[in-house]
């Protein structure tokens, strides 16, 4: 197990390095006009000096080595355009807490509503509760998020008596963004938990438990739920870590000062150091989330072992 973990972590590092290199090269493909707001008026010398300042005149491999050397020392570089001369880490640390708080709250909401919903739908399969739940899931999955977010903002703000724009210190203003963000996850957890529980309820051990005379509800929650939850648990760490990415829609709809649109903004404004910093964050989150997900699965279900070569298939 330990050996597997070490190997796995080493490979994660390799993946991270490759991702960063690819993104680094992609960014250098961008046309240089974008780096200077008044490109047409500049002389070739000025452009040359500007590029040299940014270290863009070196050959690509040299640039990459420089970048990784700095990275190893924990230096993400300095934002050049988005907020001139502010270290990337500082820009991010301003924005991250808001997005994380919003995301974690919405994940908790999704788990609190979604899991019982899925379990109850499986328990009352084909009855009215199941039908209403299925209708809800179909609607959430099929209607594009942009649409229902908008309508929630439009009508629910009126009902709640809050303004369209977000105010960070008033808890009342947190309700709608959190709720709209969690809707998609509620549908996700509800749908899959129902699916897994229905599959699980045809197995022999369930029949045995019923034959022993256990109550229907007892079987559902003591046996079936615990088994059906294992495959879902894999996604939970990723989901929690993903909250650092923020939601572009929600944050721009309510004007929340979070991570949401940051990546798009900095790419459009050619702020390469910012882009690299954010991509590093995203990639770390993805890789670590996957690892934690697998670990949680092993912890919850002792039958799964990661060490064996074919164990995860």
């Amino acid at each position: 197990m330990l050996k597997y973990l070490i190997k796995r972590i080493m490979r994660s590092f390799l993946t991270l390095i490759i991702i960063l290199t690819v993104v680094f090269c992609l960014l250098r493909l961008m046309p240089i006009e974008g780096y200077f707001p008044n490109f047409e008026k500049m002389t070739p010398q000025q452009i040359q000096v500007g590029l040299q300042e940014m270290g863009l005149t070196d050959p690509l491999p040299v640039q990459i080595v420089h970048f990784f050397q700095k990275l190893v020392h924990g230096d993400l570089g300095v934002s050049r355009i988005y907020r001139a001369n502010v270290p990337v880490a500082e820009v991010l640390s301003d924005k991250l807490p808001v997005s994380i708080k919003l995301g974690v709250l919405s994940m908790i909401t999704a788990l609190i509503i979604g899991l019982p919903m899925g379990a109850l739908m499986a328990r009352f399969k084909y009855r009215w509760f199941d039908k209403i739940g299925t209708l809800f899931i179909v609607c959430i999955q099929a209607v594009p998020a942009a649409v229902y977010y908008l309508f929630i903002q439009l009508y629910a703000t009126k009902i709640m008596g809050v303004g369209l724009l977000f105010q960070i210190n008033d808890p009342k203003y947190w309700v709608l963004p959190v709720l709209s963000m969690s809707l998609n996850n509620i549908a996700f957890y509800g749908m899959w938990l129902r699916r897994y529980m229905v599959d699980e309820s045809n197995k022999d051990y369930v029949k045995l438990a019923k034959a022993k005379g256990m109550s229907e509800g007892g079987v559902m929650f003591k046996h079936i739920f615990r088994n059906a939850f294992v495959p879902l648990a894999q996604y939970i760490p990723t989901a929690f870590l993903n909250t650092v990415i923020g939601s572009i829609y929600i944050e721009s709809l309510y004007s929340i000062p979070g991570m949401g649109g940051l990546l798009v903004t900095v790419i459009k404004r050619h702020d390469n150091t910012m882009v690299q910093g954010i991509v590093l964050l995203y990639a770390c989150v993805g890789v670590v989330g996957l690892l934690l997900g697998d670990l949680i699965m092993v912890m919850l279900d002792p039958r799964i072992s990661l060490g064996k070569k074919e164990g995860d298939r």
């Binding site: 179909v138 999955q141 209607v143 990546l263 790419i267 459009k268 991509v279």
Partner: protein, 337 residues
């Protein structure tokens, strides 16, 4: 529930027919019952013949679900109408800015006699724009789904079936999956001009890997089932195993996946327009229209400009989703009775 009652019906019918047979037998005399039957060649042939056809049974099962059929019909009418609409009499060009007699633009005219769905803030006919936009969005959605399915199936099958490729492709997956889509989209739209083709290209560039991974996981599950091992032992060539044994098994899941990809692609188009990288305004699309409408959200009188495109968008996506689900249920041989 539906399936369950369906099965009950079938059983009841079977019981009825058995009753009838036994009744008939009851009418026959002793002699008839115990005489030898004559050898009849056509009768022998008949018993060995099954007229089961996969696609016919699939269609049969699909047409059983009324809701999906109705939605499919409505969707077909909608698609047809987007093509017919420009040729109907009295239609405006979606990009024409309409002026009144004094040369003033018809700005933000509410829905009424002259403009069925009103005009937008620069005096273009919303009715014409919505249909033109629906056509664009449907085209994007369907193309993306088809291309992704094609690439995804080919690579996914190789990924799942050829063990040597598994490691490489898994690493490629890890990398592609972790590069933010927006970077790819922005780069593509920088290098190429924003257009429908660019958008489709950009969406497919990273989208196929999800389909491929999905297929790969399915292939891994069924590749070593007994019937495939037997087939391999008997010397069936690999391409034939893939085409005859594996892929037909996956028709229902591939269909479901494609039916989900279409609304996803349409939704992505809306999203890309939202972050400002979408199609230029002179190519109306649902994303463009919703984005234009969203800017006017604060004034209730102009909200119609947001509501109408939204209704069409929701209808299209929900229909595809429900039809896809119904079709994948129907395509699953376990549901053929």
């Amino acid at each position: 529930m539906k399936q369950f009652s369906y099965r009950l019906n079938k059983e009841a019918k079977l019981m009825d027919s058995m009753d009838e047979v036994s009744k008939k037998a009851g009418n026959m005399s002793e002699e008839e019952l115990f005489s030898f039957a004559e050898f009849n060649e056509s009768e022998v042939e008949r018993t060995g013949y099954s007229n089961y056809s996969y696609w016919r049974s699939t269609l049969h099962a699909f047409f059983k679900s009324k809701g999906a059929v109705i939605l499919l019909a409505l969707l077909a009418v909608l698609l047809l109408f987007t093509f017919i609409q420009p040729y109907l009499p009295g239609q405006y060009d979606p990009n024409m800015i309409i002026n009144d007699a004094k040369g003033m633009q018809y700005r933000n005219i509410p829905p009424g006699e002259e403009f069925v769905l009103g005009t937008n803030s620069i005096g273009q006919d919303l009715w014409a724009r919505i249909w033109s936009g629906t056509r664009t969005s449907l085209f994007i959605g369907i193309s993306v789904a088809l291309i992704e399915a094609l690439i995804g199936i080919v690579i996914g099958v190789l990924w799942g079936y050829v063990r040597k490729l598994d490691f490489i492709l898994t690493e490629i997956y890890n990398i592609i999956d972790n590069i933010p889509n927006t970077i790819v989209l922005i780069l593509v739209s920088y290098i190429l001009k924003p257009s429908v083709k660019t958008l489709i290209f950009a969406m497919c560039l990273t989208g196929w890997i999800q389909m491929a991974r999905f297929i790969r996981n399915q292939i891994l599950i069924i590749r070593d089932r007994d019937y495939n091992v037997a087939s391999r032992c008997l010397g069936t060539s690999t391409p034939k195993i893939i085409m005859k044994n594996l892929l037909p098994y996956l028709v229902s899941v591939i269909m479901l996946r494609m039916a989900i990809t279409i609304p996803e692609a349409i939704g992505n188009e809306v999203f890309i327009t939202y972050i400002g990288l979408g199609l230029p305004v002179n190519i109306p699309s649902l994303g463009n229209l919703i984005n234009e409408g969203r800017a006017l959200i604060t004034s209730p009188a102009l909200r119609y400009q947001l509501v109408y495109p939204t209704i069409i968008l929701s209808f299209v996506t929900i229909s595809f989703y429900i039809i896809g689900n119904a079709f994948s249920d129907a395509a699953d041989p376990k549901n053929h009775v």
